[in-house]
Amino acid sequence: MISHEFLKQLTSLAAALFLLTAFAILAQRHMRALLGWFAIQGILLAATSALVAFAAASPELYISALLALLLKGFLMPWLLWRIVVHLGVNREVEPLINIFPTLLIAAVLVLFAYYISLPIQKTSALMTRNTIAIGLACVLIGMLIMITRRKAVTQVVGYLAMENALFFTATAATHGMPLVVEIGIAFDVLIAALIFGLFFFQIRKTFDSLDLSHLERK
């Protein structure tokens, strides 16, 4: 039987790795590597869900772990890659701000997230309490990706990374939302991804490019 302390350490490790993947997505210059890291993040999310499911002995969470693995580890990255190939998008990411300053901003965001979560940590009796801070940091990094990237595809990856971070927070900090809610959220994200796909083709048809700076000019 695995000890409680060991499980706690494993969850902390998962949280640290999750933050690492968020930074990795932010730092990538190539579309392929970006989607690769996005897939790793999805798989990590599934692993964390399974871990918490085991630790908290709640079989419901195994279902959401499976959902995460299929949807976020494989289906979404693969679909996005197919779209990138199909539309022949330039394989470079093209950030609005250089990568290095964005990484610094992200580091500041992590500090900020920890600062905000201070009062929560003191009072929460849950097994994995500093995961709220990391979850929030990853949500904010997801937003940063959306703000500082010029291409529609990269913005979508930012959106989905943000969604991953929310799922991570829900699983690690609260042992998962009730199943109804979790499935509902997954359904919404799926529809959102579908609409994103439709949008790519519309934007492409209308502007002849996936570069969103064309949208601004009208």
């Binding site: 979560s117 927070t169 519309q202």
Partner: protein, 488 residues
């Protein structure tokens, strides 16, 4: 009676599927009207039940109707019905002039019903998580509708709407997770920890620190959808570029539902923190929004963007009023929600006809409506008078109550409130006057209009300004007290 409630959600859901398969014909618009009207009749039946027997639970504790949400359910179904009637004439004209294809019309009708379903689900659910899901569903349904015309401007507006609301709603979900993290320690790790009616009695056991942080996230998250400054950037674009019936339901209904969610959260947070933090935050956001929107009204060049800024202004006013949080202020805000929704959707119907008659949405090119087509000109004039807060329309009554409530609790806010209202008033009328009066351009033509929905909406707003029916006043009263104290 369980069946009646399943009809309320079942009719829009089933019609959505039906329209997705057979929505290309002329009958689609009629089916859309019939389904919306049926939903409205069902909502009336449920309202009668709540009136006779008080608050109701359905399907165990999964859904509930209380005085706070029943009038919004009825209002949503009512405005959706009239919008469906308006859209039948409007969209067939759009199809004739080639702005939409019949293929896109199928999407339009199916998504309209999905949107109604999402809003009704958000209003009636007893679960915080499902509320979030339903609001997101309603948003996703309208994203494709905003992009319906496929012009570069429409696609860019829809993208902006999607991304900004996606970010906002993510923050709201984070807030919900935070609430769950503290409530699951009180009510156990299950659906019960997200159930409104179980949470309210236990509110003082929730961790105040966590609830405070959670409310900041919910405020920014749902506030984005309400259209509060500075997260409002999506709203004018989405209203301006989408089809007019969609502008009408976005302004009249979706903003209301988002505010409903925010205010429910506020009542819960108030119960946990026992201070006025949440209220003050809402007052601040509301006041900023009001001031910004009032000034922005003056700079608008597009008629639909003009009235969407007026919506932002009124949402700011309601947020401010709910923020004050006394029973009187809550009452004023609830009344304002109702009349604003009626009047604003009525205005958008008229604006839609006006834009079709003048073949443009540019304010500078809309001239002499009352001479060209008196019905449209008169409708626009009366609607704008009503929304600007002239007596005897209902908006005057609610704004009067609001100012009274503000004077009672925070007299200094009047210094911002009244000037903003005057500036907004001036902003609307400087654009309205040349649009309604004067001589019309040469190449315009009279379009077929159906002004009945507009007259019904304005008539109801007038009626609510003169005499609020006893049962409605009673509901508002109960809801206002509930939002003040956090218990029924």
């Amino acid at each position: 009676m369980m069946n009646l409630f399943s009809l309320l959600l079942g009719i829009p859901a089933l019609t959505c599927c039906a329209l997705a398969f057979l929505g290309k014909s002329r009958g689609a618009a009629r089916l859309n009207i019939a389904a919306s009207a049926a939903t409205f009749v069902v909502s009336l039946g449920l309202a009668w039940k709540v009136l006779m027997q008080g608050s109701q639970f359905f399907n165990g504790q999964a859904f509930f109707l209380d005085p706070y949400n029943i009038f919004l359910v009825t209002l949503t179904a009512f405005v959706a019905t009239n919008t469906a009637i308006f859209s039948a004439a409007y969209m067939s004209h759009e199809e004739q002039i080639g702005r939409v294809t019949s293929h896109n019309l199928r999407l339009y009708h199916a998504m309209f019903q999905l949107f109604v379903f999402g809003m009704l689900l958000a209003l009636t659910t007893n679960n915080l998580g499902v509320l979030w899901i339903a609001l997101e569903l309603a948003t996703l349904a309208t994203v494709l509708l905003v992009a319906l015309y496929r012009t570069p401007a429409a696609i860019s507006a829809a993208w902006k709407y999607f991304i900004l609301c996606g970010m906002g709603i993510a923050l709201a979900l984070f807030g919900t997770i935070l609430i769950f993290s503290t409530s699951s320690e009180v009510l156990g790790h299950s659906n019960e920890a997200l159930t409104w009616t179980l949470l309210y009695p236990k509110a003082d056991k929730l961790n105040p620190g966590v609830m405070t942080i959670a409310f900041v996230f919910l405020m920014v998250g749902y506030g984005t959808k309400v259209g509060l400054f500075p997260m409002h950037a999506w709203l004018p674009d989405a209203h301006g570029e989408g089809p007019t019936p969609i502008s009408a339901v976005l302004s009249g209904l979706l903003l209301n539902v988002a505010l409903y969610a925010l205010v429910r959260c506020k009542a819960l947070v108030d119960g946990a923190t026992h201070n006025h933090f949440a209220g003050h935050l809402m007052m601040g956001f509301g006041m900023l929004t009001l001031g910004m929107a009032a000034l922005s009204l003056h700079r608008q060049k597009d008629i639909k963007r003009l009235y969407s800024f007026s919506s932002i202004e009124h949402m700011g006013l309601m947020t401010f009023s709910f923020g004050i949080g006394t029973p009187l202020a809550n009452y004023a805000a609830l009344l304002h929600m109702t009349v604003h929704s009626l009047v604003k959707s009525g205005i958008f119907f008229t604006v839609g006809h006006a834009a079709q008659a003048m073949k443009t949405q540019s304010i500078a090119h809309i001239r002499g409506l009352i001479n060209l087509q008196p019905k449209i000109g008169l409708g626009l004039l009366l609607g704008t008078i009503a929304i600007a807060g002239f007596p005897p329309f209902g908006v005057f009554t609610s704004e009067f109550l609001l100012v009274t409530a503000a004077l009672e609790s925070y007299p200094w806010t009047i210094g911002v409130l009244l000037p903003s209202l005057v500036v907004a008033f001036a902003g609307l009328f400087r654009h309205l006057q040349p649009m309604v009066f004067g001589t019309y351009p040469k190449d315009v033509h009279v379009v077929p209009v159906n002004m009945l929905p507009v007259y019904i909406h304005l008539g109801l707003a007038l009626f609510l300004g003169l005499a609020i029916p006893g049962f409605l006043a009673n509901w508002f009263q109960i809801a206002a007290n509930f939002l003040h104290q956090g218990t029924l």
